[in-house]
Structure formats: structure tokens, C-alpha cells
Symmetry: C2
């Protein structure tokens, strides 16, 4: 079996157009006449819709904010890199020698991009239903339980990473008020950036209130 056949077997899908598969596996570092960036653009939107619909149908009673939260956990670079391991995607990539020596085959960003590109290629050839079938099988194999609790994140850390990377500043949290009896206190915390209040939220502990405030900002950024 040639290289492509191995991947096709792992995907349980035979590509009609092998050139399209090759394009999906080709990193821009190769400087070839084509690379997987356009297919990645398409595949990204395909997977956003598939995961969005999957969650919409699975959770009839959760609101849009929580649907977004769940999707963000499932369609991240990290998540796609994990899913890619099921089909050994890294080993099939076309990379430059430099990128190869730089451990590119194992970089989550490269593998995740190629994963999206491969799904984009299947979409172009065979349509949405075919990608759904292939992707959901991989997704459900990876995530034994898909729900808010299992996919919950440390929102403060996530927010700090974003503001640090983009603007070189760290958010600051401040206690606004606390109320209620000692055994059932409610804390209200606000999150600031550059002296500007971004959001405030309440919780049963300072930490819980901080996490909720950070989440509000993250959702606003997402929108």
C-alpha cells in the first residue's frame, strides 16, 4: 500500500482526487505551487458547522452562550491535534526539511491545520454529510463525554494568555462587594485591564466570581 492508502484506510474514506489530498497534506514551508491553507480555511468553517449542529441537537436545553463555550473547547487547535493522532496525520504531512528538523510533524498548529484541510477536501469532493460521518466518529472516540463540566476550562488563564499576547498586559481582579451570612457569602469581583473595567460577576467564592468575570470577557472576544 502506498502512503495515501494508509491514510485513507485510517479515515475509512477513499479520495476521488488524490491531488486534493496531497494539497491538504502540504504545509506552506515546502514552497510548492500549492499548500493546504485554502483548504484549511474551508475545513475550519465545515467543522465549526458540524460541531455547532452536533451540540445544538445534543443539548436541546442549553443556551447559545454555553453552546459557544462547548464548541470552543472542541474545535480548538489542541483538540484537532488530539483528534489527528487517531489517523496518525502528522506522519503523512509534506514539510520542508527545516520544518521537519524543527519537529514540525508534531506541532499542534501544523497538524491541526492539516486536519481541517483534509476535512475541507472531503467536503468539496463528497459533501457535508460525508464529513459529518467521518468527523463525528473520530470526535466521539476521543471525547468519552461531551458536556460543560468535562470540557470546562480555566477561564482566568485563558484570558490572561490572550491579553498578554495581544496587548502585553495582564488583567487585574478586584473585590467589589461581599454580602450574605458567613456560611453563604456571595462575592462580586470585577476584572480590569488598563484601569478599564471589562466585566463583573458574582459567585460563592472570590475564585468562582473571578472565573465567571473572565468568561464574560472571553465570550465577548469570541463574538
Amino acid at each position: 500500500m502506498d502512503k495515501f492508502q494508509n491514510l485513507e484506510k485510517l479515515l475509512n474514506y477513499e479520495f476521488k482526487d488524490k491531488n486534493m489530498l496531497k494539497e491538504a497534506l502540504t504545509h506552506k514551508s515546502t514552497k510548492a505551487a500549492f499548500n493546504n491553507e485554502r483548504l484549511e480555511f474551508l475545513g475550519d468553517a465545515v467543522l465549526d458547522l458540524i460541531v455547532g449542529e452536533y451540540l445544538y441537537l445534543k443539548f436541546k436545553n442549553i443556551d447559545e452562550g454555553n453552546l459557544s463555550k462547548l464548541r470552543a473547547a472542541l474545535v480548538s487547535e489542541k483538540s484537532f491535534a488530539n483528534l489527528s493522532a487517531q489517523i496518525s496525520l502528522g506522519s503523512f504531512l509534506y514539510l520542508s526539511t527545516a520544518e521537519e528538523n524543527n519537529n514540525g510533524r508534531n506541532k499542534p498548529s501544523l497538524v491541526s491545520d492539516a486536519f481541517e484541510a483534509v476535512m475541507g477536501a472531503i467536503y468539496l469532493e463528497s459533501g457535508l454529510e460525508k464529513v459529518k460521518e467521518i468527523f463525528i466518529k473520530i470526535l466521539e472516540k476521543e471525547y468519552k463525554s461531551i458536556d460543560l463540566k468535562s470540557l470546562g476550562k480555566d477561564y482566568k488563564t485563558a484570558l490572561q494568555e490572550i491579553t498578554q499576547a495581544r496587548f502585553g498586559v495582564t488583567p487585574r481582579y478586584e473585590l467589589i462587594s461581599s454580602s450574605g451570612p458567613d456560611h453563604k457569602k456571595i462575592f462580586e469581583m470585577a476584572v480590569f485591564l488598563n484601569e478599564k473595567e471589562l466585566a463583573r460577576a458574582s459567585g460563592n467564592s472570590k475564585k468562582e466570581a473571578e472565573q465567571s468575570a473572565a468568561l464574560i470577557v472571553l465570550q465577548r472576544i469570541e463574538e
Copy 2:
């Protein structure tokens, strides 16, 4: 003809499930048992894919960065609000009295959200191809020419709006260098936020270089 039939005629689509259409038209201000937020979540992803694929197929030779740029112009709140006018969507919304008095029927955000929700509802009932058919017709009626030049934006203004709203600060631009003969000078400008350099870019004028630098940051935020 009842209310729904008028909208259905404008859309050239008859809903199988009128309750789903009603949900898509119901703003959360009504405090009804349902509102259009979940369908909007779904419709947003549907339209991202439809526009992404449309651009992917129409522009065989432009890179992923420019595909993203074009899509951002077409799928914005402003764009969807404009498209909604073709089907008089504002007049079909269910709003609270307060929102009604607050001119909610004409708010771009409300109308755009409902537009996404209506497309999400058609997707659930009739699938992707049906939404494509309906949406692309509306899109092509609105945009006589879809290309980078016609859809080009003022990126500096767009960036400033974002940083001001989210972080309370305005970007600062600084000349890094200029080179070349007087009639053919190249300017390199950098954009800073909080003394942190976010990006730099070159152009035939300071303004052009600033626009390019702002665009680099906008694309990074988008990603």
C-alpha cells in the same frame, strides 16, 4: 395572507414547521419560552461555511488571508442587516414593547441575529443546499461586485474601535523608516498598543503602511 406568508414569499421558501420560523423571529426581550439565540448560533456557522465556500470557488487564486478578509466583510452584522432589508425582516420580528419603543426593529444587531436564525432554521429543515440557494441569491443581489477592492475597509478605524471598546486604549502609529528616491519612497510604519508593538508594514505612503499594519493585527484577532 398572514404575516408568515408574506415573509415566506419574500424568501421564496415555505417553512415546514411554522413554530421554528416563529422561534427564529423571536427576540429574547419578549421573555417567551423560546427565542432565536440558539438558531442564530447555528445559522452563523451555516452562513460562514456558505460564504467561505462561495469565495473559495469564486477566487481560485487568492490566499487564505484574503479569503478571510473578504468573508469578514460579507458576514458582518452590518452586511447581514443590509441583506435583511431585501426581505423586510425587521417588520416580522417579535420584540418586547420596550425594545419596540427603543427602535429595536431597526437595530442592525437584532435584525442581523434574526437573519442568521432564519437561515439556521431553513438549514435544520431543508439542509445546506437549500440555504445556499436562498442566501446566495440575496447576497448577489446586494453586492454587485464581490472583490477585495470593493469590499476594502478602513482597517485603522476598525482596529481602533476594537481596542477602544475592549481595552480602553487607542493604537499609536510610528514611522520606523523610509527609503527609496523621493518619487518612489517606501514607508515602514509600526502600530503600538500600550507601548507594545503589535505589527509593522510597508507601503507607498504612511497611510497605506498604517492600513496594512492595522490589517495584520485585525487578522490576528480574527484567528
